[in-house]
């Protein structure tokens, strides 16, 4: 077996490493479940794969309810059961249903399909959708101008937006279809609510009670404004993957953050075990007497630690992701894979960066005790230091308003900064974090590479020259 795998096995299969992986995996699963229990259990229909939108029209002696039942991808659900007033109805192959109920019927109507159930009250317009829908809204507004009989125009509509990888659909239920123009606008999440009319895009006219329009939907969180002329625009938040993901993701981010904090200390310990201690005790000499160059030995042991960081991060992030995915599988929508992927990459980068730094130390310091002391200092410095130093800079230079920018800027100067940037980008994507002007992806990547490569190269060059 290649020696590098032995070095990996000897680093990975340590009691401390396994213990922490097991602890964090358990925490990951527990938090996934807790996230599920907090967000999903109280409002299970938020996470169903079942949605309804429609209108109810009051007629002379009855209430006519027209609705459309669809899944989280916007596709019609055939044969969904509708129960109203003790009678059962079914949707047709196109997902539509039409009920004739007594006049002024405002009792809850149940929609069931595949062991999932939602309800709605047949108001003039209604919609009840899961939190996987990208946007939704109910507008009961008064328009500008008057009708021919001199009364104010009243217009009520409900809408949902489904994002299928940029090919979006706007489903609009309107109580008074009259060939009105429909417009939408997406605006940057951080910009103001004042949306200029000129940026609205025409998507079609209202042709019936339930209307479908194709949209180009963005992949980032934005503000969405929907306008049915001649009402004013209605603005809401647009989540490309639905707001459900945001609440689920934020719980996991906390676990991974804790993991990185603790596991950095494990990486420190691994650098001591793999390199510092053997150098200090002299065990490295016996290995160096084998057919191996110093460079190979240095790289082999380094890769042992790196693989441990990668596999530990992978196990934790994807275990949490898988657990949560299984728990919410009934929604029919997979949690976006970029969520564990970003966490995995950023966590690995942070752990490898810190490992590179502390692994470099034994090339300069023979004493294992001294190496450990300095490593612990660096651990504390980079875990706590950047935020504290940034805060001091902000206060002393009078740039308190820019403290967030300064803090994020300080992460470039920490090997563990990659983790903070990973959480930042996830937060940005899932709406828990506003954009920060000092974070630039090329710089994030560059700083991570530098923190990994430079200490590694310096340590290697030095190790090639020292007296062991």
């Amino acid at each position: 077996m290649k020696t590098v795998f032995y070095d990996f096995k000897r680093s990975f299969l340590r009691f401390s490493v396994i213990l922490f992986i097991v602890i964090f995996a358990a925490i990951g699963i527990a938090v996934s479940y807790e996230t599920y229990a907090t967000n999903v259990s109280p409002n299970p229909y938020y996470f169903h794969d079942l949605n309804v939108i429609g209108v109810s029209i009051q007629k002379y002696n009855e209430t006519e309810v027209i609705g459309y039942v669809f899944n989280n991808h916007g596709n019609p659900i055939n044969n969904a059961q509708i129960i109203a007033g003790g009678s059962s109805y079914r949707t047709n192959a196109s997902g539509y249903f039409e009920l004739n109920l007594p006049q002024f019927y405002f009792e809850p109507i149940a929609v069931s399909y595949n062991n999932q159930k939602i309800e709605f009250i047949p108001l003039p317009v209604f919609e009840n959708g899961s939190k996987y829908l990208s946007a939704e809204g109910v507008v009961e507004g008064f328009g500008y101008g008057t009708q021919n009989n001199g009364q104010n125009i009243t217009l009520k509509y409900a809408f949902v937006v489904i994002n299928n990888n940029g090919k979006g659909t706007l489903i609009l239920a309107i109580d008074n279809p009259n060939n009105q123009g429909v417009y939408v606008n997406f605006a940057n999440y951080s910009s103001s609510f004042a949306i200029p009319n000129t940026s609205f895009k025409y998507v079609g006219n209202v042709t019936g009670y339930i209307n479908f329009y194709h949209l180009q939907t963005p992949s980032s969180i934005e503000f969405l404004s929907v306008q049915v002329k001649s009402l004013g625009p209605y603005t809401t938040e647009y989540y490309p993957d639905g707001s459900a993901i945001t609440s689920l993701v934020s719980g996991i981010i906390g676990v991974i953050g804790g993991f990185t904090f603790i596991f950095a200390a494990i990486m420190l310990y691994l650098a001591y075990i793999l390199f510092s201690k053997p150098r200090d005790t002299g065990a490295l000499k016996f290995i160096l007497a084998r057919p191996v160059t110093r460079r190979e030995l240095y790289i082999n042991r380094y890769l042992g630690g790196v693989l441990t960081a990668i596999i530990s991060s992978f196990l934790l992030t994807f275990l949490s992701y898988s657990t949560l995915s299984i728990l919410v599988s009934s929604s029919g929508i997979l949690l976006p894979v970029d969520f564990p992927l970003i966490l995995f990459v950023s966590t690995s980068a942070a752990l490898i960066g810190f490992f590179s730094l502390v692994y470099m130390l034994p090339s300069f310091i023979k004493s294992g005790g001294e190496m450990l002391g300095i490593s612990i200092f660096l651990f504390l410095l980079f875990q706590i230091g950047p935020s504290v130093i940034a805060a001091i800079i902000a206060f002393t230079t009078g740039h308190i308003n820019e403290i967030i920018q300064i803090i994020y800027g300080s992460y470039y100067f920490s090997p563990l900064g990659a983790e903070s940037f990973g959480i930042y980008y996830l937060g940005l994507e899932y709406g828990t974090q506003p954009a920060v002007s000092s974070v630039h992806l090329p710089l994030v990547i560059l700083s991570s590479i530098i923190w990994i490569a430079i200490p590694f190269i310096i340590g290697l060059i030095k190790f090639n020259k020292i007296n062991i």
Binding site: F286, T293, N467
Partner: protein, 306 residues
Amino acid sequence: MQINSIAMIEVSNISKKFGNFIALQDVAFTVNNGELVGYVGLNGAGKTTTIEIIAGVSYPNSGDVMIDGHSIIKEKKEASKNVSWVPELPIFEQDATALYYFIYLAGYYGIGKEEAKKKAEELFSLVGLQGREKDKLKNYSQGMKKRFALAVSLISNPNNFIFDEVLNGLDPQGIMFFRDLAVKLKKENKAILFSSHILTEVENIADKVIFIHKGKIIRQMSIEEIKNFIRTNIFRVVLGRIDGKVIKIAEKYGNPELQGNIIFIENFNGDIPGLSSDLLNYNIIEMARVEGNLEEVFFKLIGEQK
């Protein structure tokens, strides 16, 4: 077995400094195939420094070491395949079991797990560690660690061996084991460099002795040269009875000196029958030429250096 004299370990003018301290200065010698060379010096003379450079563990500031024609500096891997080192105090990563660590180290020789296990079985048995394969190395005694280091050193069946003070701290059985092994390897035409403080052992098994003092090689002598060097012209007679005339009698044969009941005759003229005849009445218990040993040679050489 035919013994050829190709230099298998060739140390060429190596020098080594630690800061301002010169640990080795232009050290040069060769160890040929089928030759067992003793490497002798006081503590701190530079023996271990030399050996660690030959083993590829340490770099010289200048000079080079060729192992079977491969430079330990420029062709480290090839050279290291052909030389094995058993250090004075073998230090391993203590948390591993012996078998596991053996397999790990065998990996550096390109030997796979299964093959390494087979080799371990054979070599652990050879060095007397059978049944202790699964013990953690931290539970091994010093002697066992040396045996383990030896087992590792035999993985690649190399042509060259360096034993650095391997006899230190061993029980008589351990000393005999390593001494016999060194002789056996020599008979197999291997080149062996053997450093030891136990000079009688070196004297008994070495073909050649290299003396190092304060980082410099002060002398290289074959065992015949050493024997000639230590041969003295002092004759020693142990008598059962002494009186005032005995010195007078002995003066005919050289320059006598009486110590108790022993007469030491310097510049002995060699007439043993005459001497024994003259001292017949003094009840001769023992008489023989006084011989020196390697230790005396060593200290004499050091004295010359001073």
